[in-house]
Amino acid sequence: MSDQADLLLATRSQVYRDEEPVEGERAEEGGCGVTGFACNIPVRGKFIYEPSIQMQNRGNGKGGGIAATGLVPEQIGVSREVLDSHYLVQLALLDATVHPELEKQFILPNFDVALSTRQDHIDDHRDIPGLTVRPPDVHRYVVRVKPAVLKAFAESTGLQALSPRELEDEFVWRNSYRLNDTFYASLGDKRAFVLSHGRDQLVFKIVGYAEQNVEYYKLQDFRAHVWIAHQRYPTKGRVWHPGGAHPFVGLNEALVHNGDFANYHSVCEYLRQRNIKQQFLTDTEVSVQLFDLWDRVYKYPLEYIIEALAPTAELDFDQLSPEKQQIYRQIQATHIHASPDGPWFFIIARNHPDQKRMQLLGITDTAMLRPQVFALADSGDVQIGLICSEKQAIDATLRSLAREDPRFCPVADKYWNARGGSSSDGGTFVFTINDENGKKKLSCADKFGRQVKLDVGNVRCDQVKRETPSEIAAAGTRKAVLEALKQGRAQDLFTHVVQNLPGWPASGLRDFCDRIVESCDNGRSKATAIEALTLLYDRRFDTGDKRRSTVLPVLEETLMRLFDASPLLGQPGEGSFRRLNWDSRATIVAPQAGEEVLLIDAEKFPPEGDDCDAVYLRRAFQAGWRRFIVYRLRGQRFTGVGLGPGTEGVRIDTYGSSGDYLASGMDGEEIRVHGNAQDQVGQIAKRGKLVIFGDVGQTFMYGGKGGEVYVMGNGAGRPLINAVGRPRVVINGTCLDFLAESFMAGDPLNGGGFVIVNGVEFDRRGKLVPLAAPYPGSNLFSLASGGAIYIRDPHKKVVEQQLNGGVFGPVTDADWRVMRPYLQENERLFGISIDELLTVDGKLLSPAEVYRKVSAVSLAVLASATEKKK
């Protein structure tokens, strides 16, 4: 079989021109936003629009592309058999006059054309705001290679041993290469190129934003199982070509990429050694060339492809079985020069028509230098997996899907990050859509094929019609609610739901929420209601058979109703709440007597710049407001930034999808995030209190100098890196890696800083369970010279190899005296009790038996000369 591979590669010389390949200047890549989703039912193109537009600020409008896989035969104009068996050769015509010549040279002689169509589009591209470059005309051929041509191809290459389909695949690949060469790569003026040529897959790309593809080519109603999109941010050159935009295709896969390789030349050399030459001169092109090589030519299983891209190393390698280690060593030795070096995150849409299988993959580099979020939602009849650079874009996609099709839920059942190059998930998750008894089913697995299982209830709380509840039940609930609201006892409301929700009918929660809304005025009861609903939203408890991802939208919707009912700022009204939204933003006045809380409806505000909601929050603060609720966040950035020093007494609560840089520079205020937080949260935080009722993203508290911080879930890569001073942080989950690198936070027993890592999570019943590893990464507390980590590790799973300059020590009474107040507050906030934390395998132990301390070791190389003399 490897002879065939070598022969295949060697005979590609037939396709190349004699001249040396263009030693071109690599087209500058840089950054971007990537997104994708896969669904077991075909989804309209309209829905790739949402996450793309949410990530406009990750691109600059100079390149945007989309790919659709798993199409609907009728929409292509062919039968199911034809769609499964034929290639969709889709061309971008930059110069309209090239078409006849191109067709004559590359299509008609080689292919039996089942259908030839011109893609529809709107009349004038300028009708799309911001789209300045006219997109290329797109022509699509549905083809098979002519049998005689294929036979001649087999003979001229000597590849008769390949299966007919493999032969045909290779022919199509080569034909596209030659076409691109003739009409694109070798030319000054680009005339045409192949967008995609796989089966049941289409790519569109333009010089513009990704979602403008949907608008221009009228794809709103075009349906597909798998969609991916890319917002490009190129910086070089005044003329951009759509050919440089992503996705790039291998054969049956389309790839989009966020990042930038440092070893592009090494990767090119590796490919050229295998007789694979480049045409578009971007990192992304070589990425998909690698994938195609390992997949189609070498026929590696997916696991090995991923290993070649993102090799397992350090402690993770040691944890593999000996058999795996041997294979992985071989792969690394052979392919290390091709492993992309540098920040990268790939999303790949892939098709196996013969196995009736479609896939969406997300793969991250081993150092996890790019942000990535995965999400999975299973409503029984519809299942969807999503991957994105930012969680807020996932939320936007689900919200828009749920608005149109009630089978979808606006909240996913599970959100998580991948750990690059790891033995736990290989930095990869794959959503696979398979045929099962004529129905499509979606499943999710990591690099090693381990399934991601959802353990959620099956009863939806959010779709039910409001039935008239039984008189007695309604009266009982109404009475309880009224009492609690009158007396300001949010905790009672919370307890009422926690105790009753599992037993309620599907409509029970809705009813409860309706009672709350109708019993609220604008004063104290409203505050109590908000507090209670927020508690229910934040806390993890047993929802019985009710699916939690449907409980949350009901609670959120109720909160929105309460918020929206508040009078606008500057308008006459009662009570202590006032509201500001995009339309009313010009009116910022100081709070009048009795006015205490300013609600900011963030929905229409831009994510950054002079008009973003964060700016208005600051102005309101300067006008005298101290208590804020920012809601309907859609990824807006910089919440709480710019308030300056001395902000004691300020409290900000956020609801919705908060964005990057939240709470950065905080210097006295209290900020609570009700939900997950994104990236660059709490940079240089100096003082104040930050509570995150969920996970937090990349470089959390980078350069942090203080603050009291509580995270209910996990951190991603590089939390608290380069932190100094005295931050005191509790992370209840764990982190991807590089926690507290270069920590310089003094002596925790003497006013310095520390991080408590509990390594636990909630199961479906709201019970605390330990994670598989309290800390899975290979770099804990690296190069730190101060501060400490207190890690919950009763079974001593964390080993010395994971430390780079730290040392294990016991947790003494003095340590516990310092830790305890924070764990007590942790308990109050999250319901994570100290007793539970100290219980191991059913037995209550002492802190010293449960926690371990990691402290800085005095490294000679770091110390001063005077220190060394001692």
């Binding site: 500058e28 840089g30 950054g31 971007c32 936003g33 600020n57 990750r58 691109g59 941010y233 910086t235 070089k236 050159g237 005044r238 990042g259 930038d260 920040p343 230098l369 790019r370 002079d610 700016v615 950035r637 910089f638 930034v641 710019g642 308030l643 300056g644 020093p645 990057d660 840089y661 520079g665 210097d667 990236d679 660059q680 940079q683 240089i684 100096k686 990349q698 470089t699 980078y702 350069g703 100098k705 590089r718 890196i721 380069n722 100094v724 001073g725 005295r726 270069s742 310089m744 936070a745 003094g746 190069l783 010279s785 101060g786 190389v861 110390a863 001063s864 000369a865 005077t866 220190e867």
Partner: protein
């Protein structure tokens, strides 16, 4: 054009070794007037030595004769003092009528080259350049004889470029030459910032240099309506009176960065990299991390402090834009400067920074200095600034954005001549580092980073060593240096027939490659 020769008979601006009391800093205005600020040491290093033999009869004639003040016989003294030979102009004096060697009736005086000078300096900073800088810092004017103050002897870069002075330049009135620079060309609604000279001071952190050095730079920047930069060590309280002339640096270790320090200034500088240690981040060695330094950075005294090589929050260009947006959000009026080193794709980096929102792109070439890095890094990586300027300038012009962004360059710019050459190659203005240090008395011994730091108390936070230099004296030295530089810049521009720094920009036709050492 007037020159005033070194005049040691006038009272110096301040006693060099006193520490100025803090309340003199309550003044917000600092005069840019030249006042003599002679060397700290009575027997300073000079190019020449005058020996007086035992034949001397102490007639005192030499003291009356020498206009430089080399010979001094105060009233009531029997003998003349030891010659202040660092003030001697050397063999050129033989052409005059006041050459002491010739006029001494006892033939007691001999003139020779000071052998110490041969041990001083290196091809980039020659002994002549060091001594010239000291002269300018002492007097406020370029030296008039004996010292090569225009270029070094490195055999490359600026030292192989000459000005192509036209035979009949366009007439330009020296009094009207415009050396100002406007820093905000983005038209984005943020305030304009104008500086009176196309030079500002480089980032030197509290920790790499002493507080006197930092405050002196700030006071000189105030006098010249320009800027100094905090470096990566935080914002010392004593800089607060000079907020309007300070650039806060946000570097990769984020030391001392708080909303407060970002909000008080007009310009914020992102230090992505530094030419002296590209790709390496910073490394303040343990001994320089004194308790005061540690307190400001909120770290532990005695430990080495690392700044990582990248910003950990910026691994892609959209992160860079987000990062700039963040600072702009914190301070709605500040300009943003992005400081980068000079890799081969520096032009791409510059363009990327512009699109990410920067007002100023600051290129730091490989010959820059540092007070906080190990030896292995210095001078060994990245591109000299002479290459980078032209490359970036041309690229930005081709991209059509040259006039929307300000290009500032640094990395081994030593003299006013270097500044003018940099502008002619395509820069709008420059940042200097070492030149300021030399003006304060630095001898380029290269001991800045280790142990207690600089033996002359300039690049040291050691409480004892820093007292070797007074704040008042240091301030005046820097003010004088800028005065001398500005005079020289005007001189060059007049001879080129160019009436403003803006008009000189990119005029590489006014430069020529010098085959031999420049001989003007």
């Amino acid at each position: 054009m007037t020159f005033s020769l070194a005049n040691s008979k006038a009272e110096p601006a301040a006693a060099p070794t006193q520490s100025a009391p803090a309340d003199t800093e309550s003044e917000f205005t600092v005069s840019r007037e030249v006042r003599p600020a002679p060397d700290r040491y009575r027997n300073a290093l000079g190019k020449y030595k005058i020996n007086r033999s035992a034949d001397c009869v102490a007639c005192g004639e030499c003291a009356k004769l020498c206009p430089q003040g080399v010979h001094v016989k105060p009233d009531g003294y029997t003998f003349t003092l030891r010659p202040l030979d660092h003030l001697c102009i050397g063999p050129d004096c033989a052409k005059t009528d006041h050459f002491c060697v010739a006029k001494c009736k006892q033939k007691a005086l001999t003139l020779m080259r000071n052998p110490s000078v041969d041990a001083m300096g290196d091809p980039r900073w020659t002994a002549d350049l060091i001594l010239s800088t000291w002269h300018m810092a002492a007097t406020g004017h370029v030296p008039t004889s004996g010292l090569e103050y225009r270029h070094g002897a490195s055999g490359g870069g600026f030292d192989r470029m000459d000005f192509n002075f036209p035979a009949a330049p366009t007439k330009v009135d020296p009094a009207k030459v415009d050396t100002t620079l406007a820093l905000n060309r983005r038209n984005d609604g943020r305030p304009q910032v104008n500086i009176d000279i196309p030079v500002y001071g480089g980032g030197m952190s509290f920790g790499s240099v002493s507080i006197h050095t930092i405050v002196a730079k700030a006071r000189s920047a105030t006098a010249w309506n320009s800027f100094t930069c905090t470096g990566e060590g935080g914002y010392p309280d004593r800089l607060k009176p000079y907020d309007e002339h300070v650039i806060t640096q946000v570097a990769t270790g984020l030391f001392g960065v708080r909303e407060d320090t970002i909000q008080r200034v007009r310009i914020v500088e992102f230090k992505y990299a530094q030419g002296a240690k590209p790709g390496l981040g910073g490394h303040l060695l343990g001994d320089k991390n004194t308790p005061a330094v540690a307190r400001m950075r909120e770290a532990i005294a005695g430990n080495a402090l690392f700044s990582p090589f990248p910003f950990h929050s910026v691994y892609s260009v959209e992160d860079h834009k987000k990062h700039l947006d963040w600072i702009k959000e914190v301070n709605s009026r500040a300009l943003v400067s992005v400081k980068v080193s000079t890799p081969t794709d520096v032009d791409m980096v510059a363009v990327g920074s512009y699109y990410a929102g920067a007002h100023i792109i600051h290129l730091d070439g490989s010959y820059g200095g540092t007070g906080a890095a190990p030896d292995i890094a210095k001078k060994n990586i990245a591109m000299p600034i002479e290459y980078a300027i032209a490359k970036v300038h041309k690229f930005l012009v081709a991209e059509g954005i040259r006039d929307s962004v300000t290009l500032i360059v640094s990395g081994g710019l030593r003299t006013a001549d270097d500044v003018m050459k940099a502008v002619a190659l395509g820069a709008d203005g420059v940042v200097i580092g070492t030149a300021d240090m030399v003006a304060l008395g630095c001898v380029r011994c290269a001991c800045c980073e280790s142990g207690r730091g600089c033996p002359r108390g300039i690049a040291s936070t050691d409480p004892e060593l820093m007292m070797l230099m007074s704040l008042e004296w240091a301030t005046q030295r820097l003010i004088n240096l800028m005065h001398a530089w500005r005079e020289r810049m005007v001189d060059i521009m007049v001879r080129l027939g160019v009436s403003s720094v803006k008009d000189l920009r990119g005029r590489s036709d006014l430069l020529t490659y010098a085959r031999e050492e420049a001989a003007l």
